[in-house]
Amino acid sequence: MQYLSIMADFTVFLEKLNHVFIEKDRYKQMLIGLLNTFKITAGALVVGVIIGVIIAAVRTSYDKNKESMALNKGFGYYALSIINSFCKFYLTIIRGTPVVVQLMICYFIIFANARDGIPVAIFAFGINSGAYVAEIFRAGIMSIDNGQFEAGRSLGFNYLQTMKSIIIPQMFKAVLPTLCNEFIALLKETSVAGYVGVVDITKAGNTIAGRTYNYFIPLLTVALIYLIMVMILTKLVGRLERRLRKSDR
C-alpha cells in the first residue's frame, strides 16, 4: 500500500514537473537565465580582477614606498598619494553599500539610458567585486616577507621587477583560496540581477514560480544549479592550486 501511494505521489510529482518546466517551454527561460548568470559572473570576474590588480598595485606601492618618496617629495609622490586616496575612497563607497543598491543606482541613475540590463549588471558587479579583490591582493602582497623584497632589490631588480618576478607569483598562490571564495560569493550575488529586469537563473525560477504558483520545484532546481556551479568552480580552483603547489618542491 505504502509503495503504491509513493508511486502515485511520484506520478503527481512528474505531472507537476511537466507543468512547471515543459508546458509552454518554460525550461527555456531557465536556460536563458543560466546563460545570463554565466555572462554576468564571467564579465564581472574579468572587470573585478582588472580593477583589483590596479588598486592593489597602487595601494601597496604607496604603502611600501611612501617613506623613501617622501624624502625628495617629487611629482611622483604627490601623484601617487592622490591616486591612493582616490582608491581608498572607492573602497569605502563600494564596501559600505549593498550590491543591490549599487546595481539599482547603476541601472536607474548612472546608466539611465541603457536599454539592456546585462552590461549594466556586469559593470555593477565588476566594480563591486573589484573592491574585494583589491583587498585580497593587497593582503597577499603585504603578507610576503619583507626579506623577499630586500633580496630582490639586492640582486639588482628594481621595484616593478621585484614585484613581477618574486612577490606576485608567491602572492598569487597564497591568495588563491580567498580569491576562490570571492568568486563563489560573486556568482551567488548575481542572483539579485532580477531587480533590474535581467533574467538570471534566480529570476527565471521566480518567474516560473509566479506563473505556475509552484515554488517547491523551481526554487529547489535553482538552488541545485547554483550548488553544481559552485562545486565545479571549487574543483577547478582546487586543480589549479595543486598544479601551482608543484613548484614548492
Binding site: 505521489d9 536607474f108 541603457a114 531587480y195 518567474t207 504558483y213 509552484n214 541545485l224 562545486m231
Partner: protein
C-alpha cells in the same frame, strides 16, 4: 572527479526523495482539516481572525496611508470580516507570493485586485467577482508606441506575475516582456526608456500617470477582467462563507459605495 559525481548523485536522490515525502506529507495533512468541517465556527489560520494577503502598491485597491494599508479591497474585506464575526488582519507581501502563501496556509485569503484566470484556477479557488478591472498600456509622450498595434516587437514592462505579465508573455513572447518587482519600478524603467510601454491595471495606471509628467494611457484598453478573492484550493467552507457575505454586500450596494468613494466616475 568520480567522487564528485557520486556526491551529486546522492544530492539529486535526496532532493527527489524529499519531494516525494513532501508530497506524501501534504496528503496526510489534508485529512484532519476536512474533519474539522463538522465544527460550527469557521476555521481560519488564526482563530477568530481573517488573515488577508495583499500587495500595497496598487492604488486605489490597496495602498499605504501612513502605516496602514487602505483601499477598496481592504474596506470590502473589513465588511466581510464583520459579517462573519471575525477580526480582519491585513498582511502586505509581494504579489507573486500571495497565491503560494494562501496555498501553504499562511493566509486565509488573498485580495489584491486579483483576476481569475485559467492558470490561477489550477492552484486556487476564487470567490465571485466584486469589481471590474481593465488592463491598459502606459506610454511616453512621443514614444515608439502610439496604439496597441505598435506594441509588437517593442519592449514591454510589467509587474511580475500580474495578469498584464501573463497576457503580454502569451501575446508577444517571453523575450518582449521585462518583469519588475512592482508597478512603480516598471514606470521608472519606462521613463528612462528601458521599456517602450507598461501594461498594468487601469486605476493604478491613472495614479502613476498623474504622478509623472510626460506619460499617458492609450485610449484603447488592452484587456478586460474580473477581480475576485482567492482561497486555498479545496477550502470550500471558508470560500462559501466569504462568498455569501460578499454577494450580500454587493446586493446591498455596499461594494459599489466603496468603489465609488475611491474611483470617482
Amino acid at each position: 572527479m568520480k567522487k564528485s559525481f557520486k556526491i551529486l548523485a546522492v544530492v539529486l536522490a535526496l532532493v527527489l526523495v524529499g519531494t516525494v515525502f513532501a508530497a506524501c506529507g501534504k496528503k496526510t495533512e489534508k485529512e484532519p482539516e476536512s474533519k474539522s468541517n463538522t465544527e460550527t465556527a469557521l476555521k481560519t489560520v488564526t482563530n477568530g481572525k481573517l488573515t488577508m494577503a495583499t500587495e500595497s502598491t496598487f492604488p486605489p485597491y490597496e495602498y499605504m496611508e501612513g502605516k496602514d494599508i487602505v483601499g477598496i479591497d481592504v474596506e470590502i474585506a473589513q465588511l466581510i470580516a464583520k459579517k462573519l464575526g471575525l477580526e480582519l488582519v491585513v498582511v502586505d507581501t509581494e504579489f507573486k507570493s500571495i497565491i503560494p502563501g494562501v496555498q501553504s496556509g499562511k493566509y486565509d485569503m488573498g485580495m489584491a485586485g486579483m483576476t481569475v484566470d485559467a492558470d490561477r484556477l489550477k492552484d486556487a479557488d476564487f470567490s465571485s467577482s466584486y469589481a471590474k478591472g481593465v488592463q491598459v498600456v502606459i506610454v511616453k509622450d512621443g514614444g515608439a508606441v502610439n496604439s496597441i498595434d505598435d506594441i509588437k516587437g517593442k519592449k514591454i514592462g510589467v509587474q511580475e506575475a500580474t495578469t498584464g505579465d501573463i497576457y503580454a508573455s502569451d501575446d508577444f513572447g517571453e523575450d518582449a516582456v521585462i518583469r519588475y518587482e512592482n508597478g512603480a519600478v516598471a514606470i521608472e524603467a519606462l521613463k528612462s526608456g528601458k521599456v517602450d510601454c507598461v501594461i498594468i491595471d487601469k486605476e493604478p495606471a491613472k495614479s502613476f500617470v498623474a504622478a509623472n509628467e510626460g506619460l499617458k494611457i492609450l485610449d484603447t484598453s488592452y484587456a478586460d477582467e474580473d477581480y475576485a478573492i482567492c482561497f486555498k484550493k479545496g477550502n470550500t467552507e471558508l470560500k462559501t462563507a466569504v462568498d455569501k457575505a460578499l454577494v450580500e454586500l454587493i446586493n446591498e450596494g455596499e461594494v459599489k459605495k466603496i468603489i465609488d468613494k475611491y474611483i470617482p466616475a
